[in-house]
């Protein structure tokens, strides 16, 4: 075993590789094209390109889109569903809603298991877990025989109210396994013992259909890495912001869906921590979209409500990320009534912005940045030449002429609308949680984040912007920073005043035993296990619950109730002390600590500001400004400079607008003060 820690983050287009050397504390980064048809290839290619000898690798982290892509394309092996008589269509009826409320031609996508592959069996449990109708064993066996004839081996068993009593589900599983020797059977209660059939069935079904595919992928990759000399466990990044080893990933493959989105948020949290910032917004802006995450009191916001596609909920804790259609390639246009619009349509990789000369003729944010010379005409050290004339022509025709603006004014208008849209999205994620964005710092990364970060921050009244050293590959670094983590939950429904504290303690103990068991299976040493209790509560009669932390001991519940009142007031501006509080669910987060990279801060030098590569005219606030263009590699720790300035590097361009002051901190981040705190203009 050696000193390297490697993270491979496979995205839709590129697979990023981040290599950390624990001895030297150096980080190296490389990129290879993704290989969607055989995702393992890109991982192997990335290892090769990074010149990594797997024998030297202590930990190998991997974020993958295998699960996400399989769910979107529906390319997974045939699976069947066995369910309570009368409830064959829970996953097709869903809750009936549509995401596009008004377009009668836009439908929600179909269920993961077709109706012909969904079967019923007589059985019924009531809300309290009492068996109303015992499982009809002969019918169950006959059904198993039928499934065998149909050559289905991947089966989900989802019975009504199984969160309250899973006996019938378990018995059905046994019968299926007896009759179909090579069957792989999942029950809904073992995946997610929570109320609401639609959410539980969907989560279990997604988990089931991904099983064979993810198992095979993980096994193949694990085998290949082992063959090549890696001796430890492969660590797979999951959407909850932790990782899992292959045996658990095979058991809970659905947790790998959205693994890609989590990495950027984790990186944002890491950078915030390094900078000593308790509250930060992560703005990960790429070519077609922007992912916004929130670090509040040092923790990422977590949600239980997410999905890969609308109508197919996956009810596992996931890092809350809001994705909006605003990226470098977002298209600007003047609509039928003469308003200037920006996104969500995007030029994508093909045809791309006009200035890429790949056939695009609709102006994008990238074109606008080029017109204003915020972006240089040579990108990636000259590997990409941008055509400013074409961009100018497109912006003039599409935006400038209809609105009576010069090309510069039109470009600036495009960017202001884009930045305001991103600011609105940040407002939505913060204010809906009762948080004021002005109390946050903005961490700007992704291919385009550093170009827009300062102006988005100004729009929001956010005083500080942090641009990490390698904005384009920051997400991959996030993969290096995760612990092993499992999230368990149980229903626990009772008025807080009537809870039997010992019974509650027993529930936590049982979950803790199960969680510790999982972690030991993953070879986590007992000293590295951290167990965190949580509890969800609501005012009696309310529908949504709020999760708060839960301590130990006799007083813990009382304290949690007080925390609940406070949190309700903070998030929603009111509390109701007279209204009884009801416990709804108990939660446990089990963490197996993984060695974290340590970074040595750079030492500030008082060397003078390096000379600019050159000076060019850049457009800000309605006029051209002579602006120094710096090479990021030349900027040493401790250097300070005022805007306007542009900092260029291989994977990003950082914009320091007039009035902003920039420094390079000890982690080699560019930190900008763009406004006074609370100065909202």
């Amino acid at each position: 075993m050696g000193d390297l820690r490697v993270a491979v983050d496979a995205g839709g287009t590129f697979t990023d590789v981040c290599i950390y050397d624990a001895k030297t504390q150096d980080i190296r980064v490389t990129k290879v094209p993704s290989t969607p048809d055989n995702p393992r290839e890109a991982v192997v290619n990335g290892v090769e390109r990074g010149e990594i000898d797997l024998k030297d690798v202590e930990l190998f982290f991997h974020g993958t889109t295998v699960a996400t892509n399989a769910l979107i394309t529906r390319r997974f092996p045939k699976a069947s569903l066995v369910t309570t008589e009368g409830f064959r269509d829970v996953i097709e009826i869903r809750d009936g809603t549509k995401d596009n409320l008004w377009d009668a031609y836009k439908d929600v996508t179909g269920p993961y298991i077709r109706r012909r592959d969904r079967f019923e069996v007589p059985e019924r449990v009531d809300y309290a877990g009492r068996v109303v109708t015992p499982l009809d064993e002969s019918a169950a066996r006959a059904l198993a025989q039928k499934l065998k004839r149909r050559e289905t081996t991947t089966i989900a068993v989802c019975f009504l109210n199984s969160f309250a009593n899973a006996d019938n589900e378990r018995r059905m599983k046994e019968i299926l396994e007896e009759e179909i020797p090579d069957a792989s059977v999942t029950t809904s209660a073992e995946v997610l013992p929570e109320i609401f059939e639609h959410d539980r069935f969907h989560t279990a079904v997604a988990n089931t259909v991904l099983g064979p595919l993810v198992s095979k992928y993980v096994e193949d990759l694990d085998g290949r890495l082992t063959d090549d000399g890696y001796t430890s466990d492969l660590l797979l990044l999951h959407s909850g912001g932790g990782s899992m080893t292959p045996p658990l990933a095979k058991q809970f493959p659905v947790r790998l869906a959205a693994s890609g989105i989590a990495a950027g948020a984790i990186a944002a949290k890491h950078i915030a921590e390094q900078c000593g910032l308790n509250n930060a917004v992560g703005l990960d802006m790429g070519g077609t979209s922007t992912d916004i995450s929130m670090v509040n009191d040092g923790e990422l916001r977590i949600t239980n409500q997410w999905e890969v596609e609308y109508g197919h909920p996956i009810t596992f804790p996931s890092i809350e990320v809001l994705t909006i259609g605003a990226g470098g390639g977002s298209l600007a246009h003047v609509d039928v009534a003469g308003a200037l619009r920006n996104g969500p349509e995007s030029a994508g990789a093909v045809p791309g912005p006009v200035c890429y000369e790949r056939g695009g003729d609709q102006p994008t944010n990238t074109d606008a940045n080029l017109i204003l010379r915020r972006l240089g005409e040579d990108l990636a050290d000259g590997a990409l030449q941008l055509n400013r004339d074409d961009a100018e022509k497109a912006i003039t025709e599409v935006i400038g002429e209809p609105l009576g603006l010069s090309s510069e004014q039109a470009a600036q208008a495009i960017l202001r609308v884009a930045n305001a849209n991103m600011a609105d999205a940040v407002r939505l994620v913060s204010i809906r949680r009762g948080l004021d964005p002005r109390d946050f710092a903005l961490i700007a990364f992704g291919g385009a984040g550093a170009l827009h970060g300062a102006e988005v921050a100004k729009e929001l009244g956010i005083p500080t912007v942090v641009v990490p050293p390698n904005p384009g590959v920051t997400s991959a670094m996030g993969c290096l920073l995760v612990d092993i983590q499992h999230d368990l939950s149980r229903m626990y429904s009772a008025p807080a005043s009537e809870v039997d504290v010992e019974d509650l303690e027993r529930q936590y103990r049982e979950m803790e035993a199960e969680a510790a068991d999982r972690l030991r299976q993953e070879k986590v040493a007992d000293d590295d296990i951290i167990l965190q209790r949580g509890i969800s509560m609501r005012y009696f009669g309310q529908w949504r619950s709020l999760q708060v932390t839960m301590g130990h001991g006799q007083e813990a519940l009382q304290q949690a109730v007080e925390t609940f009142h406070e949190e309700h007031e903070r998030q929603f501006a009111f509390r109701q002390d007279d209204n009884p509080v009801e416990v709804y669910q108990v939660h446990l987060r089990a963490v197996g600590k993984t060695p974290r990279p340590t970074f040595t801060p750079a030492t500030a030098s008082d060397a003078p500001l390096p000379e600019a590569k050159h000076v060019r005219e850049v457009y800000f606030d309605g006029t051209w400004h002579s602006t120094p263009i710096f090479d990021r590699a030349q900027l040493h720790c401790g250097v300070e400079f005022d805007g306007p300035a542009v900092v260029e590097q291989l994977d990003a361009t950082t914009l320091v607008p007039p009035g902003a002051r920039a420094t390079v901190d000890e982690w080699m981040n560019i930190r900008m003060q763009v406004a006074r705190k609370g100065d909202d203009s």
Partner: protein, 654 residues
């Protein structure tokens, strides 16, 4: 592209403020969803709006329920009229009055003025459906109500916060008139607080952009929407289009469908509707006030302009003549209107779908299933105190077949596509009702070249109940969901009690306060969507796929589509199409089907009573309307329904 007018904001400021208004309203919706007490609100039966100083709507929430569209400005104006210059910072008003542009009594609006420099610049409004608002029946859906007095509490504009102080006595009066006062008080708080979120956001914009700019942007956002609609009409033909759809019956008149007539005119100046000639108000609660009729008109139209934001600019471009008070579409005081959502609302929306289908064939669609609510109220004997329970249930159903694809199955009603069906496990925890099935019903989609979406069947058993009654708010038990362009109808709505037992009863598609006891079972379907195009033109392989998935039965594949399926081994989905027999069957249907629509209704009714033909045949082949329980013939309804079938279906057959 339209030239911008003089005196306008610069394009960036305008776009930024327009989007910021949307965010400020959506934040209000986010908060209400997280803090509400009514499960109806939680299921997304609510809406939010920012109105200007005159009460005109500047922006509605992006995920608002369709049915509230175009009513929020009326409610805001009612508050302004009522209180005039006695509106103060820190005030919050409540209103639900359907005769002041409200929807029905359950929908309670909370309205907060937004002040800047001592002057009102706008109003923040949140409207949510309370689970109960008093009246004769639990859930306040009294089908047999003829006036609002038996429907529940009518709230004309009142103040519940005054200068920032809670007006406890008034709030207490409101909630004390409901069956669930604690819950209602919770919602009163939650909704009022939600309006403060919008106020805060708008004031932030004022700080940043100045009061004048924000006020101007409120007006320009409305102008923008009006301009967008007018521009979108360019290139569409001018002319007049007419249709008629029906409510099942008016008990005061007797058997016979109740017409709602809609005329659409496009003249290049806007979109104009005329509903005069619609029937007199009915002696049930299936009437509509002016607010909800306008809502149906706006929501129906918006379906064909899905990307246009909703505000008063839309209401300027779309005008309607709804005639004098006293009709089913403009009921007026004191007619009962709570059931508007199942009655005129659905008919106006679907009628508008049909009219626009002719103008924009690329968005054409047949009729969708009808909104339905089943309510059971009584005492829950599972608990010692036997508290009052309200099992209040609505279903997804099928939408109409479309120009290029089948209708959408098991989808929320056109009344609100964001209205979520409740999870059975949640319902069972709260109510002594055990659901025995909740699944797609076979053969429920109207046959067509493109099949209507499938409806759903839901049934249950009452377990530990006492003193319980059941009510049903629906329609289209007789005016059955229709097909277009040669497509056929789906199936009727209606509730069965103890179906399949010796004391089976068909209760129909609207009824109120039927006594039920422990052990009783009930079931009802939601209709599928109407078919689009001639079912005999549907490719046999598509019919076969439907048979494999059991959306269509082997029997009805032959009877409705003329496709003869050979069943080899259904356990492994092994079926074949008998192509020769199919060709013969299709020819035979083609020869006879016009004559079927002239068959003696009495004989058809008799065959149904004998059990020799199925309900599907009575409707789809013969166009005959019966009491589906007794088999009694409704002669006048049959005549009207056959006329509709001839127009919408048979006239399109080759």
């Amino acid at each position: 592209m339209a030239p911008r007018q003089d005196n306008t904001l610069d394009p960036v400021t305008f776009e930024v403020l327009k989007n910021a208004f949307a965010t400020s309203v959506d934040l209000m919706s986010e908060q209400i969803l997280r803090t509400c007490y009514s499960f109806v609100i939680y299921s997304r039966d609510f809406s939010s709006a920012l109105c200007d100083a005159e009460g005109n709507t500047v922006m509605q929430g992006s995920a608002d329920i369709a049915v509230h569209v175009g009513t929020l400005h009326f409610q805001c104006k009612a508050v302004i009229e009522e209180f005039e210059d006695d509106i103060n910072p820190g005030d919050v008003f409540a209103v639900n009055d359907p005769y002041r542009g409200g929807t029905h009594l359950n929908d309670v609006s909370f309205i907060r003025p937004i002040f800047s420099e001592g002057e009102i610049i706008g109003f923040a409004q949140n409207k949510g459906h309370w689970a109960d608002i008093g009246g004769n029946v639990p859930g306040s859906f009294d089908v047999n109500a003829t006036t609002h007095f038996s429907e529940g509490l009518r709230i004309t504009p009142v103040r519940v916060w005054h200068h920032g102080r809670f007006v406890h006595d008034v709030a207490q009066l409101l909630v004390s008139n409901t069956r669930a006062p604690d819950q209602a008080m919770g919602d009163l708080y939650a909704q009022s607080e939600a309006t403060a979120v919008c106020e805060r956001e708008v004031l932030r914009l004022v700080d940043k952009y100045s009061k004048d700019t924000v006020v101007k942007a409120m007006q320009e956002t409305q102008d923008y929407v009006e301009r967008t609609v007018l521009k979108s009409l360019e290139g569409l033909p001018h002319g007049e289009w007419e249709t008629v759809d029906y409510i099942d019956f008016d008990p005061a008149v007797g058997e016979g469908l109740v017409p709602i007539r809609i005329k659409l005119t496009l003249d290049g100046q806007g979109i104009h509707y005329d509903l005069t000639g619609s029937a007199a108000a009915v002696a049930t609660f299936l009437n509509s006030g002016y607010g909800t009729t306008h809502s149906a008109i706006y929501a129906g139209t918006k379906t064909f302009f899905p990307d246009v934001p909703l505000n008063s600019g839309f209401y300027r471009a779309v005008t309607a003549e709804i005639g004098d008070e006293g009709t089913v579409v403009n009921a007026g005081w004191p007619h009962a209107v709570t059931g508007f959502c199942s009655g005129p609302y659905e008919k106006v929306m679907n009628g508008i779908f049909e009219l626009w289908s002719a103008i924009m064939p690329e968005r054409a669609m047949a009729c969708a299933f009808n909104l339905e609510y089943l309510l059971i109220g009584g005492n829950d004997e599972r608990q010692r105190e036997a508290p009052y329970f309200m099992w209040y249930d609505w279903m997804a159903g099928g939408w109409g077949g479309r120009r290029t694809k089948d209708g959408s199955s098991a989808t929320s009603p056109v009344f609100g596509t964001g209205l979520a069906v409740q999870p059975v496990e949640g319902q069972e925890r709260l109510n002594p009702v055990l659901t025995s099935r909740h699944q797609i019903s076979i053969d429920s989609g109207g046959p067509g070249r493109y099949r209507g979406g499938c409806g759903v069947e839901k049934g249950g058993v009452l377990t530990d109940v006492d003193k319980s009654v059941m009510s049903y708010c629906c329609d289209r038990g007789r005016s059955v969901t229709w097909g277009v362009d040669g497509g056929l109808p789906s199936v009727p709505h209606g509730v069965w009690l103890n179906k399949g037992t010796s004391h089976e009863r068909y209760l129909g598609a609207t009824f109120s306060n039927v006594e039920v006891k422990a052990g009783d079972s009930f079931t009802r379907p939601s209709a599928g969507g109407g078919g689009f195009g001639d079912p005999l033109d549907r490719p046999t392989e598509e019919v076969l796929e439907d048979v494999i998935d059991e959306y269509v039965s082997v029997e009805r594949a032959e009877l409705d589509y003329g496709v003869v399926i050979i069943v080899n081994d259904p356990d492994v989905d092994d079926y074949d199409v008998d192509e020769d027999a199919t060709q013969r069957t299709r020819e035979s249907i083609r020869r006879q089907r016009h004559a079927w629509l002239d068959a003696s209704p009495q004989e058809v009714a008799q065959q149904y009573r004998d059990g020799s033909i199925a309900l599907h045949d009575v409707l789809r082949r013969y166009g005959v309307i019966l009491d589906w329980g007794t088999g009694e013939l409704f002669e006048k309804s049959t005549q009207q329904y056959r006329e509709s079938l001839r127009q919408r279906s048979s006239s399109h057959w080759s």
